[in-house]
């Protein structure tokens, strides 16, 4: 047993770090680290730059243009990118529909879509949830009826993250209304510019536009845009959510946020003493830091088990539960850190080009909105209650 990275692994991390420092635009880095809004173009530009370097698909096999890295390399890559303030990769293409297409897509779909994901020619979004189907995803009601060479879609999706930017959506629809709940569901790929698709913004508690409702009114999608066979959508979705869950812990990002918290707590003063040196707050930081250390090691243990040939089991649900709780604690402590300056609402300060006078310390503006925003992380991707149900059943046999 050896908890240290090998020299090769350290050299790899260092290579990534040097490259990111040389290639990540400083304005982008600054915006990421200070939680300002990122433009669509700058996200695309960053993905393309990574792709040019050959790192566009860190978790993808080489045959599809990926890096072919092992899981430790992937972990280090995520970690360095988070640490250096790189934009988070867009999960919908790279981590969701990409792997699904590799596993279940037709040759044509692979040939066409996978390179476009790496180059981010397509901006994907996800059409799973519906207003009536939250945790109970299988109760979805969206219909897809085959008429000649097209599926005709009718229904509504919701919580569609970044749907306003997307030109493509992968979605679940009921293609066989007679079949039982999980059966009769298929996964389809649709162009967002097809007539009949309407996107309506949902504004969240932090005042931001991140998620959307997407309405489908007789939307005609080419017949070949189904993934795999009709009725296999539920299988594909479970495969996809399994992939999502490992990334959802966002340990690298939380480590970067912990640093940010410590910086803020050093700037803030209580009767002249840095907040980071007052007993109560110091120990709150310590507590979340220890939780995060433990989670990182747990994650590394799982990565090691995976490399040793053990398939990632439902234990990954644990990463989601703990990872999301830690993310929430961090946003909460940052809000706490600024005291009364947690109150002012100044969304302009998050604009890329804003040059106004901040209200209170410059770092304060995003903190309370982030706290509000991060309530979602224990809800989305399968709420933490659902994760516990899964663990109880799959791991504990209850």
């Amino acid at each position: 047993m050896d908890l240290n990275y090998t020299p090769e692994e350290l050299a790899f991390a260092d290579e990534v770090r040097q490259w990111v420092r040389a290639n990540l635009p400083p304005e982008t880095r600054d915006r990421v680290l200070h939680h300002k809004r990122l433009g669509k173009e700058e996200q695309v530009a960053w993905q393309r730059r990574l792709h040019e370097r050959g790192w566009g698909g860190p978790r993808w096999p080489k045959e599809y243009g990926g890096t072919g890295w092992n899981s430790v390399q992937c972990h280090l890559f995520d970690e360095v990118l988070s640490e250096e303030g790189a934009p988070q990769p867009l999960a919908f293409g790279l981590s969701m529909i990409g792997p699904v297409l590799m596993a279940f897509g037709s040759q044509r779909q692979k040939d066409y879509y996978l390179p476009r994901i790496l180059r981010q020619d397509d901006w994907w979004c996800q059409g799973f949830s519906e207003p009536g189907s939250g945790s109970d995803l299988a109760s979805l009601r969206m219909k897809a009826e085959l008429e000649g060479d097209h599926w005709v879609l009718n229904g509504q999706k919701t919580w569609t993250t970044q749907g306003q930017h997307a030109n493509m959506i992968f979605l679940l629809a009921r293609t066989d209304p007679a079949a039982k709940k999980q059966q009769g569901i298929s996964m389809l790929l649709a162009d967002m510019s097809t007539p009949g698709v309407t996107v309506r913004p949902i504004i969240t508690l932090d005042g931001e536009h991140e998620v959307n409702e997407v309405f489908f009114d007789n939307v005609r999608v080419p017949k070949e845009n189904i993934v795999g066979a009709p009725g296999m959508g539920w299988t594909h979705a479970k495969f996809l959510l399994g992939h999502e869950r490992t990334n959802i812990a966002r340990i690298g990002r939380s480590k970067a946020e912990l640093k940010r918290l410590k910086r803020i707590a050093t700037e803030e003063k209580v009767d002249g003493v840095p907040l980071s040196q007052t007993a109560g707050f110091r120990e709150k930081i310590a507590a979340v830091e220890i939780e995060l250390m433990a989670l990182e090691l747990t994650n590394l243990r799982m990565i090691a088990a995976e490399r040793a040939g053990q398939a990632p089991g439902a234990e990954a649900n644990m990463l989601k539960i703990k990872g999301s709780e830690i993310q929430q604690t961090l946003t909460e402590l940052m809000m706490e850190a600024v005291g009364p300056y947690a109150l002012p609402f100044n969304p302009e300060a998050r604009e890329p080009g804003w040059k106004g006078e901040p209200i209170g310390p410059e770092y304060a503006a995003p903190l309370t909105p982030d706290y509000f925003n991060y309530r979602k992380v224990t809800i989305y991707g399968g709420s933490n209650e659902i994760q516990r149900n899964i663990l109880a059943k799959a791991v504990l046999g209850l």
Partner: protein, 379 residues
């Protein structure tokens, strides 16, 4: 010991509750929030007409001579409705301070105008570096023959953006963090050298950053004796906290009702989600958290005007801790139990949560007051 309401209190409660139900629905409130000033002068006039602004003011100054407990009843109803009008800064803090520390002339000139809704007040005390400390005042007031010159900056002044009259704390002696040497001044909006930068808070209430650059006030602007303002400041903030407690309890009750209703009507897996035992137990804990908070809000209202500063601050801090913890738990759980819909602006649960979050961060958070509670006996 008596927890029952007096007839006046019952009347006040019914009036305030009806007003909120009829005039302060979620849609109406959204319109108010979207308006230019971010609150409704029309509703303010209605509050005045109904006597809600003068509940606690003496009859000779246009009020009805009630107690803080009477005021708390109005505040609880306002909490249910998430009222954003500047009631706390004007009525609880501003008018309260003038009543406590003002001269007869000051009272006569200000209080009746507050009662009739013609005047907004704000208590400009906290500063950019003071955090939750009540004594950290770096703003100075220099006295000369004609009056005082004020210099300094005030932070997150609740209601500061619409205030006609600011009650500004400043140092006439001593150094930052001294209890002695603090004085209070009435400063009119529009005074030369006074800069007010108004903004909305995250919960829809309003505040302002206030800069004072050589602001001149006459001797008559001094509120109370020179240098002896600390006890008044402390009591004003304690009253503010007691008011927040009452408001929070109304908020929590409404949010619990909303969440319970959602549990009973939201169907997943073919059944109401309230049939899942884990969610039931979370809801039970929210119910308990609200009952515990309610008890402490009652205590805070009972003690808000007590002259025994040490016992008062201890009770008030205890209440603020309980309100902070209960509010955080109920708010976070309510969003979690609602799932996605709870995270959106178009649904009311999130607004309750935002207000509860803001209340915890106002006048000292739960941890600040836990320490104050634990150390007040030694101070």
């Amino acid at each position: 010991m008596d927890f029952s309401l007096t007839d006046t209190q019952r009347m006040l409660r019914d009036t305030a509750v009806r007003l909120i139900r009829e005039r302060y629905g979620f849609e109406s409130r959204a319109k108010i929030l979207a308006s230019a000033e971010g609150f409704s002068r029309e509703l303010w006039a209605t509050f005045a007409e109904m006597g809600l602004l003068g509940v606690e003011l003496p009859e000779q100054h246009g009020g009805i001579g009630g107690t803080f407990q009477d005021l708390a009843i109005v505040l609880e109803a306002f909490g249910r409705g998430m009222v954003v009008e500047p009631f706390l800064p004007t009525v609880v803090l501003g008018a309260g301070l003038i009543r406590a520390a003002g001269s007869e002339a000051q009272k006569s000139s200000v209080l009746p105008r507050v009662a009739e809704g013609a005047l907004f007040l704000a208590f400009a005390h906290g500063e950019p570096r003071s955090r939750y400390s009540l004594t950290h005042v770096a703003t100075t007031a220099r006295r000369d023959a004609e009056g005082y010159t004020l210099n300094g900056a005030k932070a997150v002044v609740l209601g500061g953006d619409c205030a006609d009259l600011l009650l500004v704390s400043a140092r006439t002696a001593g150094k930052a963090d001294d209890r002695d040497g603090l004085s209070l001044f009435l400063v009119e909006r529009g005074a030369p050298g006074l800069r007010i930068r108004g903004y909305p808070n995250v919960d829809g209430t309003r505040a302002a950053e206030v800069a004072l650059e050589g602001v001149r006030v006459p001797h008559s602007a001094l509120l109370g004796g020179e240098g002896g303002a600390f006890p008044f400041i402390q009591q004003a903030i304690d009253r503010g906290i007691a008011a927040l407690c009452a408001e929070a309890v109304g908020n929590m009750q409404a949010l619990n009702e909303l969440t319970l209703d959602y549990l009973k009507t939201r169907i997943q897996f073919g059944v109401p989600i309230g049939s899942f035992q884990v969610l039931q137990h979370h809801m039970v804990d929210m119910f308990i958290a609200h009952e515990q908070a309610r008890s402490m809000a009652i205590l805070a209202a009972d003690r808000a005007d007590s002259a025994d500063a040490q016992a008062r601050t201890k009770a008030i801090s205890a209440a603020k801790v309980q309100i902070g913890r209960s509010g955080r738990f109920i708010g976070q759980q309510a969003i979690q139990l609602h799932g996605g819909i709870g995270t959106t602006l178009e649904y009311s649960a999130g607004h309750y949560f935002k207000r509860l979050t803001t209340i915890d961060r106002t006048f000292g958070d739960a941890d600040f007051h836990l320490t104050r509670f634990a150390t007040v006996d030694a101070a």
